[in-house]
Subunit: 352 residues, 2 copies
Amino acid sequence: MKVTIRDVASKAGVSAATVSRVLNKPELVDPETKQRVQAAIKALDFHPNAMARGLSVSRTDTIGLVIPGINDLFFTELYRGIEKACSENNMKILLFDSQHSRHRALEGFTFLRRHQVSGIIFTSKLVDQDYDALFDRIGIPVALALTEATGRTPLPAFKVDDVRAVFDVVAYLVARGHQRIGMITGESEDDRTGLLRLEGYRRAMLHFGIGYSESFVTSGNYRFDGGYAAMQELLKRQPINQLTAICTASDEMAIGAMRCLHDHGLSVPDDMSVIGFDDLQIARMVIPSLTTVMQPFEEIGEQVVRALLQRIEQPSELPRQGTYYMPHRIVERETVKCLNSSTSEEQLEKCF
Amino acid sequence: MKVTIRDVASKAGVSAATVSRVLNKPELVDPETKQRVQAAIKALDFHPNAMARGLSVSRTDTIGLVIPGINDLFFTELYRGIEKACSENNMKILLFDSQHSRHRALEGFTFLRRHQVSGIIFTSKLVDQDYDALFDRIGIPVALALTEATGRTPLPAFKVDDVRAVFDVVAYLVARGHQRIGMITGESEDDRTGLLRLEGYRRAMLHFGIGYSESFVTSGNYRFDGGYAAMQELLKRQPINQLTAICTASDEMAIGAMRCLHDHGLSVPDDMSVIGFDDLQIARMVIPSLTTVMQPFEEIGEQVVRALLQRIEQPSELPRQGTYYMPHRIVERETVKCLNSSTSEEQLEKCF
DNA sequence: GTGAAAGCGCTAACAT
DNA sequence: ATGTTAGCGCTTTCAC
């Protein structure tokens, strides 16, 4: 039924070894026989069995990718970078969706391990000491995107500096005359990201002498509905009357918050400024378009692949370890109102 | 280095076959030895090599998925259904992103074939006679999602009835008093979908005695920018002054069109009604939220997997062939204005 | 430049 | 219930 390398070999009147050579090292086979073999391959419509090859060479040229959920909009942005770097190094990608479950993520490791991936990229969930035992034994290089390792096992990680990013956001708002600034942060089981972003907010509020109050803070699950509900909650509280701006831990939540404000008859940015986090495609689609913090997803994807490849090729050295902070940037669009009558550069400057 | 089934076997004092049995047919091995083997597996942190297994059983329990682009928002919706049906039947998914290139799509087939997938799901590009030769030889079941086969080779396909869907959209608008209705349709190399949706529009315009004019129609690439540009073009044309509604071939284009209208100081839906196609997550996120045609992506994903599994399990029979139309539905939100002073049910009815 | 043979890690008869 | 043996399809020394 299935046509194998042997079928090709006999059709071309050569040995299987020769067919294998024209497939993998064509330069060291006589041009004439090469022709014959290639003709046979085409005639028989032969397609080499990747598993057999993988078994034989015990290498797959595949990297495994564990993601929290394929529905997360940021994931596709990240994927682009990963895909790019992989195809440049002709690596294949094996995807595993953990569906936001720690348990499933572990299953993912098992799955990828069985499939002999050369390396694993882990995305977006906190990698803490629970994973140490795993990584100690796994024997496969692991790198992290959009998260970092807090366990004993150090791992190369690529992400933005969340604390700094939100600090910058608050500074940006302060520079535009905002003082009463609220925060919608993230939340989930192991969500270091949300904590870091909150910390950036806290530090900035303190730094600028505004003061930090929990009553200005709510959290959501990073999604639209979470943002909506968080905004709802904020609107219920007393101090909200005084808020002029909200910073959020994700674009989706920012957009959910905008919808909530809209439903309450409040206008963005006239009644309330809103600022997102991620700079996804949707940030520029909504009206008003969303001012937000850009994460360089594509570059993060590329870097994490490179780090992984480096480890795969030189397992002995540990050239890249620990967290690398990739540059973020505030993308100015339409959801932040400047409250200063005089938008003097001077004023903007003094915040930093 | 790598720990194999043999290592486990010797550690547990049994043969490799027994280890294999506890892995695959645990019921027919003595409980006591099973214990020993499992202990050895755990102690050695053994992970069976999926490739070796696949080679041996010549089956992978994997289906290949060829998609046009992972960035396309509709894809993640479809994926959910595919993933669900696959995990229910414990099938794995091997993803291949063709990046909207016909050439890459062909590479995808090669790739998936090498990896011995049991079946292939092809998404969203027209499958025409160019593929016939391929499918005749490939020997792997293929099923289609969101597209259909127009070549000689009949293939099970699951999609909405695009003609009917847009016809319904126009009927919906007509029932609400619209007559001067424009259309932004899709376009790309092999875009049957766009053509079908246009045809639905054309038929409806004729059916309702409004008349079809090319000057009311533009096209875009289904994306935000395409929708924006198409709307821009429509606004440039004379008749646009008389348009009261625009139907589009995708939510993203609808949202792009909305942005364009906004930039021209036009209000949706007061100055212009807009209706999308897809019902992606973003449809409910924008303000005003988008009235649109829902495609049952998740169900389509599930059905296509089921069809594929059926073919895989019973290759001889051809129980499911040809195109299955899945039900669409207009989701009413905020972008369509009713122009009738009296919204009589009677009036709505007579359109159908 | 090409072929023969061994083996990658696992499973599946067939024995026992 | 368990072990023995023979592959699955390919690559890779090692001869020639």
